[in-house]
């Protein structure tokens, strides 16, 4: 398990490299969406606040991390593999016929994968149900749900956003991967999302805005989230879609595009992995 900030940053780069390569090999979509949330996922799994590891992946007491933007699950598969939840070799079977790593995750497809996502707007209601269920079972476990900004178009997100504060679900937190893009346009232009932090605040959440690629800021925000005594916390993580590869950053063509061999080489060079 990575301990130092340097090791954690190295893990982020390694995940980005794998995402670029696998997207090239398997010609899959959503590379930029996955690159956008790599640091969020790394902070969630390695930040020390959430207790979820290979040895407790089936334990009722574990903390739960849900990636509600299931199209970015490559980032989650990679970190689960690199943290030892399953054999890294399995990563090569991504999107293969008969394989267990679909482009959107199926239920419990690998250890540590809490929820089948892919249809947007499902992770927060289910995560809220887990948070309430854990409370009923008198467990102190925490739930973290990672949403995309485009996903906040879904009404079900706001249904859950209203219920969680009403239930004082303080063992629940969300991180919104706010990269300002959705599949076919600027997220604020498609449906008026701005001001996002104020929206969550108005719905009864503690809110905090962080640089979604600064691991220290992310880790601190996650740690603070569960210290709040009367409200759940929403962390607005300002991110860059396609983060880590200069020619993919903030270029929405990479929502669907897969890189060429030359582009993979360039990307790995930039990531310091060549």
């Amino acid at each position: 398990m990575p301990e130092t900030l340097e090791e954690i940053e190295c893990l982020s780069r390694r995940i980005r490299g794998w995402l670029v390569e696998i997207t090239y090999k398997k010609k899959t979509a959503h590379l930029a969406s996955a690159l956008s949330c790599v640091d969020i996922m790394v902070a969630a799994y390695c930040g020390g606040t959430l207790n979820i590891k290979p040895s407790n992946a089936s334990s009722p007491e574990r903390d739960r991390i849900i990636l509600s933007k299931g199209h970015a699950v490559g980032a989650q598969y990679a970190i689960l593999a690199y943290r030892g939840f399953f054999d890294e070799k399995l990563l090569d079977t991504w999107n293969e016929d008969g394989g267990q790593l679909p482009e959107h995750p199926s239920p419990r497809c690998v250890p540590g994968l809490e929820l089948a996502t892919g249809s947007l707007g499902h992770g927060l209601p289910c995560g809220l149900g887990m948070a309430l269920g854990l409370r009923i079972k008198k467990l102190d476990s925490k739930v973290l749900v990672v949403l995309s900004d485009g996903e906040c178009n879904e009404g079900s997100v706001w249904e859950a956003a209203m219920m969680a504060p009403a239930q004082k679900a303080t063992n629940l937190a969300v991180i919104i991967d706010y990269n300002k893009w959705q599949a076919t346009g600027r997220s604020d232009e498609v449906l008026s999302l701005h001001p996002l932090s104020e929206k969550w605040k108005a719905f009864g959440w503690y809110t905090r805005e962080v640089d979604g690629h600064n691991l220290t800021e992310l880790q601190n925000a996650i740690e603070d989230a569960y210290r709040q005594k009367d409200k759940p916390t929403a962390i607005i993580a300002h991110t860059v879609k396609g983060k880590g590869v200069s020619f993919m950053e903030d270029d929405n063509n990479w929502h669907y595009r897969a890189p060429t061999a030359d582009e993979v080489s360039l990307a790995l060079l930039e990531l310091g992995l060549a």
């Binding site: 009722p60 199926s106 239920p107 809490e114 929820l115 089948a116 249809s119 707007g121 499902h122 927060l124 209601p125 289910c126 995560g127 809220l128 149900g129 887990m130 948070a131 309430l132 269920g133 854990l134 409370r135 009923i136 079972k137 009404g155 079900s156 249904e159 859950a160 209203m162 219920m163 009403a166 239930q167």
Partner: protein
């Protein structure tokens, strides 16, 4: 039926700490005993059924046994994708409890009518579909549901339906209950029209026709053995349901016949038409309009039997 559900779920919750009850801002007084006894396991989820269903799935994935409850269209088609993905895809043991089968809420208009729900629920992989015929079947169904571990759709009428049984019957999911034996016509009923089916049977008996009446409370999975016997021993088999002829019990049995036939018996389907009602009307008015009365059914089946 809804009072039987409230009573049974409250008594079951005293024995089973896994049970949670999620309501879509409905059942204000009905769940008072549950709320008083188990305040930490009752959730008024507001008028937000998609979230309610997802919350229930999340609870189920933590080892609880949630029941979601509101009026049929809102707890089924309104949140169909949450039922499909969060509940069924995960095979989460959530029970979707719908109140107001068919035209139970007739006067509230077609927004509140429920004649398509069985079709939507039964084609979801892993979903069991149960439509009890009276309050005692509701009680028995809830007991049976808690003993199994999969998604269930439980379709209730409203309240005050006539009691058919004298106590909770022997109830097995997927096994029909024979109410009376007969040899000319087999009436297979699902859900809240059971009293109508029985009355139709009585009228036919007076006309010298022997009628078997079955409460086929489980639409999925179907009772293979019972269907084989019905279609080989009676010249005419009829289905009765306060549900569309598209996709409900009759649709399920038509599919079953295509896979298991040919069978000796003729098949007659009685249900609701493929249309919305724009004019107002009570449940009994709409039942008259759609031929769901003992007399209409008896007349129809007598004629069909004569044609054979």
């Amino acid at each position: 039926m809804r009072n039987a559900f409230a009573k049974t779920i409250t008594s079951e919750a005293s024995k089973d700490p896994r049970i949670t009850l999620l309501s879509g801002d409905i059942g204000n007084r009905m769940f008072d005993k549950f709320k008083t006894a188990y305040p930490d396991r009752f959730f008024n989820c507001g008028v937000a059924e998609s979230n309610m269903t997802g919350v229930a799935a999340g609870m189920a994935l933590c080892g609880l046994r949630p029941f979601t409850y509101t009026i049929t269209p809102f707890v089924t088609t309104r949140c169909l994708e949450q039922i499909r993905v969060d509940v069924c895809y995960h095979n989460a043991p959530v029970t979707i409890v719908a109140v107001g089968a068919g035209y139970s809420y007739a006067t509230l208009g077609s927004t509140h009518h429920a004649c398509e729900d069985i079709a939507f629920m039964r084609n979801l992989p892993g979903m069991t579909v149960i439509c009890p015929g009276d309050a005692f079947e509701v009680e028995a169904a809830v007991h049976a549901i808690i003993k199994q571990n999969n998604p269930v759709y439980l379709r209730l009428g409203k309240k005050g339906e006539p009691l058919i049984h004298e106590s909770a019957p022997d109830f097995e999911i997927g096994k029909g209950i024979t109410i009376q034996e007969g040899s000319d016509i087999c009436l297979l009923n699902t859900g809240n029209t059971l009293p109508i089916a029985i009355e139709a049977g009585k009228k036919l008996k007076k006309r010298g026709i022997s009628v078997k009446v079955v409460s086929l409370h489980t639409v999925k999975p179907l009772d293979n053995q019972l269907l084989k016997e019905a279609f080989t021993s009676c010249p005419l088999v009829a289905t009765i349901e306060e549900h569309s002829l598209i996709g409900g019990l009759s649709g399920a049995i038509a599919e079953w016949l295509a896979d298991n036939g040919p069978m000796n018996a003729h098949f007659c389907r009685i249900g609701t038409p493929d249309k919305f009602f724009h004019l107002t009307g009570s449940q009994s008015y709409l039942r008259k309009q759609t031929g769901l009365t003992p007399k209409s059914i008896a007349d129809l089946l007598e004629n069909r039997l004569l044609e054979i």
